[in-house]
């Protein structure tokens, strides 16, 4: 952990409440986010127990499966979920603006600009915890290879029509969530712990209730006390006062409440199937009982997630977070196009080129995120200054110099007095950058003066004339902040086409990869 964050944690311990780690909001927050609180059944892979979904905090859609091991009930659940979630995701698909994208011309091999369209906005999904993001991925994987009755009439267990599509979107969101700085699928705990440091460890910050307790403790209590209550407090029946944010449930809840309720539901169904009458009142009563229990577990997490959104909304948005959101919009538009073009679902495993591309993207975006957060936020910049990757100070002198050419350009020498210790070495001729109206101006490090002042030579953004444009050269007494890192991230070298994958990486993908066999189905189980 960087020393500055450690310091914030130490201060939080003393203050009894969380301390800011950022002064602006570094992630895009949609005006209309879709909150998804899923719960899963212990021991089963991808067997949901229920979910709360919605964009209105007062009216979540409630989905509960009274018997999670029942395949038909699960399909019905996923079909309902698909209708509701896809309606939200697809609502953004048709509102587009013209945009340009550079592509490689297949004939000439040159980069050319192509007119295309970009969705004006994209959906944002917020889940309570990091485990929720993984669960969205898992659900995506469990659904995207399913076959509907139209696709495969002989399938004994056809999936409802919208389910495979939801699987593809969930997979896309899950992949996108691994890109640093992306905001299409985010978790409340990650968002909060990016912006606040609590007086507990990283591991304990994974508990949404405890995290909120530190950030916004109830009146008259310290964050530590409130967090402890959220973590461990139990009522007289041994149930947690603040149920876990899921998707896993508390074992005590499973064993004492849920298992008997599900057993009663099973018994009522068996009695209905065996008995002479067709009075399903018992079944419906038992179903309502399970539903009440599960909703009760989810609703406090639902409220907590919205509370987290409120806390984040109160922060002013970071300037460059919007630029990163535009990348999310591109990603959304791209996947929309692939779905519309009838492309098959994402493969089980990426081929070598796609995998390398994804890794390269994540690395580039990480560099971009680090730079942009520092530029948007003096507190993040302070961390970079502490690490010697940036320095701030006052301009103590400017000497005008010019290049020696027919049309001399300005190359002024600027002396900066700073208390920071940038990692610059004499003779290294390292480049440094500062933000000038949002664009990077570069300068070359010349030398350290004897009293530790830094002498720089400005290199660009001063206009075409002999004299620099007004405002482009700092003046004596100005406060400036220079960074040793570039302000924009450069992508890596271009990768070959998948058909030209070198043998060191498995060679071109075989034709077998194109066939997506559905997962095996067994009788005992489920999906």
């Amino acid at each position: 952990m960087p020393l500055l964050s450690t310091l914030a944690r130490l201060e939080a311990v003393r203050a009894g409440r969380a301390q800011p780690l950022a002064t602006v909001r570094h992630r895009h927050l949609s005006d209309n986010p879709l909150v998804l609180v899923p719960l899963t059944t212990a021991g089963e892979a991808g067997a949901p127990l229920g979910a709360l979904v919605g964009t209105d905090r007062n009216e979540p859609r409630v989905f509960v499966i009274p018997q999670p091991r029942d395949r038909d009930l699960r399909w019905a659940f996923l079909a309902d979920l698909a209708v509701h979630v896809l309606a939200h995701i697809e609502a953004y698909a048709d509102d587009v603006e013209p945009a340009e994208r550079s592509e490689t011309d297949p004939e000439t091999g040159k980069r050319v600009k192509v007119e295309t369209e970009l969705c004006v906005d994209a959906p944002q999904l917020i889940v309570p915890s990091r485990a929720g993001i993984e669960y969205v991925r898992l659900l995506g994987r469990s659904m995207r290879f399913r076959r509907t009755a139209e696709e495969d009439p002989d399938n004994p267990y056809p999936a409802p029509s919208r389910v495979p599509l939801l699987g593809r979107w969930f997979t896309h969101l899950g992949e996108r969530a691994r890109v640093p700085g992306s905001s299409m699928l985010v978790s409340a705990t990650d968002l909060l712990s990016r912006h606040w440091a609590t007086g507990q460890s990283n591991l304990e910050d994974q508990h949404l209730g405890a995290l909120l307790a530190w950030i916004d403790p109830p009146a008259g209590r310290s964050g530590a006390e409130a967090a402890l209550r959220a973590e461990l407090g139990r009522d007289e029946h041994g149930q947690l006062l603040c149920p876990p944010a899921g998707p896993a449930t508390d074992p005590a809840f499973d064993n004492r409440l849920l298992a008997p309720a599900i057993a009663r539901y099973d018994a009522a169904r068996a009695a209905l199937a065996a008995g002479p009458g067709d009075d399903d009142r018992e079944v419906r009563t038992a179903e309502r009982a399970v539903r009440r229990l599960v909703v009760d577990q989810m609703s406090s997490t639902w409220r907590a997630t919205w509370e987290a959104i409120d806390l984040l909304r109160a922060l002013p948005p970071g300037e460059r977070a919007e630029e990163r959101w535009t990348r999310d919009r591109w990603s959304y538009t791209g996947h929309r196009d692939r779905v519309r073009a009838g492309e098959p679902p994402q493969p089980r495993r990426d081929d070598a080129v796609t995998a390398a591309q994804k890794l390269a993207t994540r690395e580039t975006e990480q560099v971009r995120l680090d730079a942009q957060e520092a530029l948007d936020d003096p507190l993040v910049m302070a961390g970079r200054r502490l690490a010697g990757e940036a320095f701030a100070g006052e301009v103590t002198g400017v000497v005008m110099e010019w290049t020696e050419s027919k049309r001399p350009s300005p190359r002024p020498l600027v002396t900066v007095s700073t208390q920071d210790r940038p990692q610059l070495a004499d003779g290294g001729a390292a480049k440094v950058y500062r933000s000038l109206d949002g664009r990077p101006q570069s300068a070359q490090f010349v030398r350290f003066e004897e009293d530790g002042q830094v002498v720089l030579r400005l290199l660009d953004k001063m206009g075409r004339g002999r004299d620099p444009e007004p405002g482009s050269v700092p003046e004596e007494g100005d406060r400036v902040c220079w960074t040793l890192f570039e302000h924009d991230a450069r992508g890596g070298p271009k990768l070959p086409d998948p058909e030209r994958t070198p043998w060191t990486h498995g060679g071109p993908p075989g034709s077998g990869a194109a066939v997506h066999l559905p997962d095996a189905v067994t009788d005992e189980d489920i999906l």
Binding site: M1, L3, L4, T6, L7, A8, L10, E11, V13, R14, P20, T23, T41, A42, G43, E44, A45, G46, R57, N58, R141, S142, G199, Q200, S201, N202, L203, E204, A224, L232, T249, P251, A252, D254, N255, A259, S299, R303, D310, R313, A314, L315, P316, P317, R348, R349, D377, P378, L379, M381, A382, G383, R385, L386, D519, A520, T522, E524, D525, I526
Partner: protein, 363 residues
Amino acid sequence: MPPRPLDARALAALAANPGCGRRALLDGAGVDKNALATALGSPAAFGQSQFAIVRGNSFEAKVKGDGGAELLRLVHAHLDAAAEPPGSGALVPDLTAAGPEGRAARTALALREATSAKDWTLLDHPMLALEVAGTPAYLEPDAVVVHPDGRWTVVEIKSFPMIDAAADAAKVGAAARQAAVYVLALERIAGKVAGAEVGHSVLLVCPKDFSNLPTAAAVDIRRERSVTRRQLDRLTRVEELAAALPEGLSFDPERPAEELAEAVSAVDAAYAPECLAACELAFHCRERARAADEVTALGRSVRGELGALTTVEEALAAAAGAGCAEDPTAAALHRAARLRAEALELAAALPRPHVPESPACPC
């Protein structure tokens, strides 16, 4: 109160925090830490959902069903494809005996017989003995398979899924550490049996994708084995720990909480937040660590970063400027505090855009 025997899970957790004398002593003495933690007023939050238990048991029964044919097929396919495939009549010796000592002896005998029989043999829930820090521990792996060439393979059956031939790394890691303990115990027996050798790859059997069908992967546990062996050897011997304790110390959960807390604090602990996932006493130790203002409560990395500054007060004093001259960590912390204050001041001075208040949640 009967002593609680050490199990593989406890040993693996112990090996993960070898510096913790409290855990070594209590485990070595067979104290029921769960009851102790409850008596101390910080009960552990461990427990397993009955859904998971039912599912795990039914999966294990399925894997071992039909005389272990499927399990042997998986071992053959993943670890010993060159050998003769197991026939339908593989040996499954009966391992029942009275008490753990009896079962361990019966297991050792069965292993010896199976090795000389030169045929595929499945040992279902054998019992292995391993001496840890001077205390015998009895371990029960899911299964051990003896190959025709005399190799012994540990099989771990887990109910987490292997999706697209990949499983949750954290869970695989825990399974590998657990299997390493079994391998160590088996090696003690194999040393006395001619022609026997313990395989350094164990077979991890999991449900395939979202189904109930078993699939398997060989997991090389050489690293875990050597780490665990080193940690177990390093464990302070329980007698040495006990020798340093006052006479008449008792961890009887019937005693009042204050007396118990005093007894527990007579043994040093090495608390870190990672303990919360592994040790029943972790909440008690955390409470103590927080009360003592220890920085380790914020994480091992924080502790490592702050060096000699072991309490929150010391660290904050350093941030305020104390002791900067002699300690470079203190100086760095002081600089960090200055930069942080400057940045917060700067941000507070910036004009804030108007943010509309969101309506309060009525629920």
